[in-house]
């Protein structure tokens, strides 16, 4: 239950002074509370936990991380040319 799930904000409104939103979780929509993420707007991705958005997902940083992973992969390919590919069971 500690899991936070990324969702995209599709609509924002206010009730009793608190901001709420509709968020899309890969086709399933849910109502979430934006009280803790004052800067989140429609279109943003956020990590949602038990109905509360906890942070705006940093897309730039996500892409950088993936880029880093890809460079690890590239390095592998280069090494594999000179080394025998690892034979340890994978998958």
């Amino acid at each position: 239950m500690c899991l936070g799930v990324p969702g995209q904000v599709t609509e924002v409104w206010e009730a009793d002074g608190t901001r709420f939103a509709t968020a899309d979780f890969g086709g399933v929509t849910k109502e979430i509370c934006l009280a803790y993420v004052p800067d989140v707007v429609v279109g943003d991705y956020t990590i949602v936990h038990v109905g509360f958005a906890l942070t705006k997902l940093d897309e730039k940083s996500a892409l950088e991380t993936l880029e880093l992973f890809r460079s690890v992969g590239l390095l592998d390919d280069e090494l594999n040319v000179i080394q025998t590919p690892p034979t340890a069971a994978a998958g």
């Binding site: 500690c2 509370c33 803790y36 906890l54």
Partner: protein, 368 residues
């Protein structure tokens, strides 16, 4: 968005695994603190794909599992009372108390309801002014902002029929307890990403320093977990002990200050008993004294609880990473998700449930 799916990309996973294989020269033991990460690891077989020298120890980060039996029994008692609507996250319903669970209370006529968000419980209190609504407020730091907000909202709405049965637990004191334990095996920690989304990273720096132990803040997708492991192993191999962030898209060093502020206004630190483990000093949050009106523990006088744990269940050892679920003799026999003896077999984050779901067909010797 496309990029989110890529954190499960098998090709990139293979590349990270290859890199880990190249890095590791000696045996190491890492602990993933959070049960969500345990599930990612077991579901994807990450522990089996890692080099043999690397042992992953599953940590105590399952809030449902560590909620003390005494609190569960208290919940069962309150939930059985007429006029009470008892609200809980779904995971909690099958968690065994001394002899029964919330599900049983419900089938015996208690008004027990599963809520997706704590705010649903506030709504129920608004809609049912003639009933008392009690919400079972458990969880780690991740869940605390949501639970704290219910009290704020109840105050704002002037609700007098809403209260919280609180059993919050905190990660840093649990890490301290594990490091102080005489059977200390863990050489590096993967810290729970979403706990840090809320709290930031500063609480972990003193632990890294004091115990010279690498701590890597780690996410939950397969690639996130692999990257956390990779960074922790690199530190160990290089003889470094540092605090690193392998989940920067969701964790900033300062965390979420708005959430921290509300949590501070509603909760205060206290000693907390962890089920199967025992009392860990200053490892919990309870409602502040001045919010006693919202505190179910104070509103409902529950006396005469005599707790009784299953004699077979070894959840305490599982939660401290001392044994794996398959080493418990009751695993998959007397204890299954349908009739669990201990909380780790119930919760979606419990290690026993993860092994039951993904590993029960393997002989114990292979996974032990």
């Amino acid at each position: 968005m496309r990029y989110l799916d890529e954190f499960g990309d098998p090709d990139l996973a293979r590349a990270l695994l290859d890199d880990i294989r190249r890095t590791v020269t000696r045996p190491w033991a890492l602990m993933e603190v959070c049960g969500g990460q345990t599930h990612t690891i077991i579901r994807n077989g990450i522990d089996q794909l890692l080099p043999e020298q690397v042992t992953l120890i599953h940590g105590p980060g399952c809030p449902v599992c560590v909620t003390p039996l005494e609190t569960i029994d208290r919940a069962l008692e309150i939930a059985s009372r007429p006029g009470v609507i008892f609200c809980s996250f779904g995971d909690m319903l099958r968690v065994p108390g001394s002899g029964r669970d919330l599900f049983r209370v419900k089938s015996d006529g208690g008004d027990v309801r599963i809520v997706y968000s704590p705010l649903d419980a506030v709504r129920l209190a608004q809609e049912n002014p003639d009933k008392e609504v009690v919400f079972f407020g458990i969880g780690f730091e991740t869940t605390a902002p949501a639970n704290a907000m219910t009290v704020k909202m109840a105050q704002q709405l002037g609700l007098t029929n809403f209260s919280l049965l609180v059993s919050h637990v905190l990660v840093p004191p649990a890490i301290t307890a594990l490091m102080e334990s005489p059977v200390r095996r863990v050489q590096a920690f993967l810290a729970a990403g979403h706990v840090c989304t809320v709290m930031g990273m500063s609480e972990y720096a003193p632990l890294v320093e004091k115990y010279r132990v690498p701590i890597v803040v780690t996410g939950f997708e397969p690639l996130d977990v692999l990257q956390g492991i990779r960074q922790a192993l690199a530190q160990l191999e290089e003889g470094r002990a540092e605090l690193e962030n392998a989940y920067p898209r969701a964790v900033s060093p300062q965390g979420n200050p708005v959430a921290q502020q509300v949590v501070r206004e509603v909760f205060e630190t206290c000693d907390r008993a962890w089920r199967g483990i025992g009392v860990i000093p200053m490892s919990g949050w309870r409602l502040r004294e001045e919010l006693a009106a919202y505190d179910a523990e104070k509103r409902y006088d529950v006396t005469g609880i005599t707790t009784e744990e299953s004699g077979l269940c070894r959840s305490g050892e599982v939660l401290q990473g001392l044994i794996r679920p398959v080493e418990c003799a009751a695993f998959g026999k007397e204890c299954t998700p349908r009739s669990p003896l201990g909380a780790p077999m119930v919760s979606s984050e419990g290690a026993c449930a993860a092994y039951y779901q993904f590993r029960r067909l393997e002989p114990a010797a292979v996974t032990a």
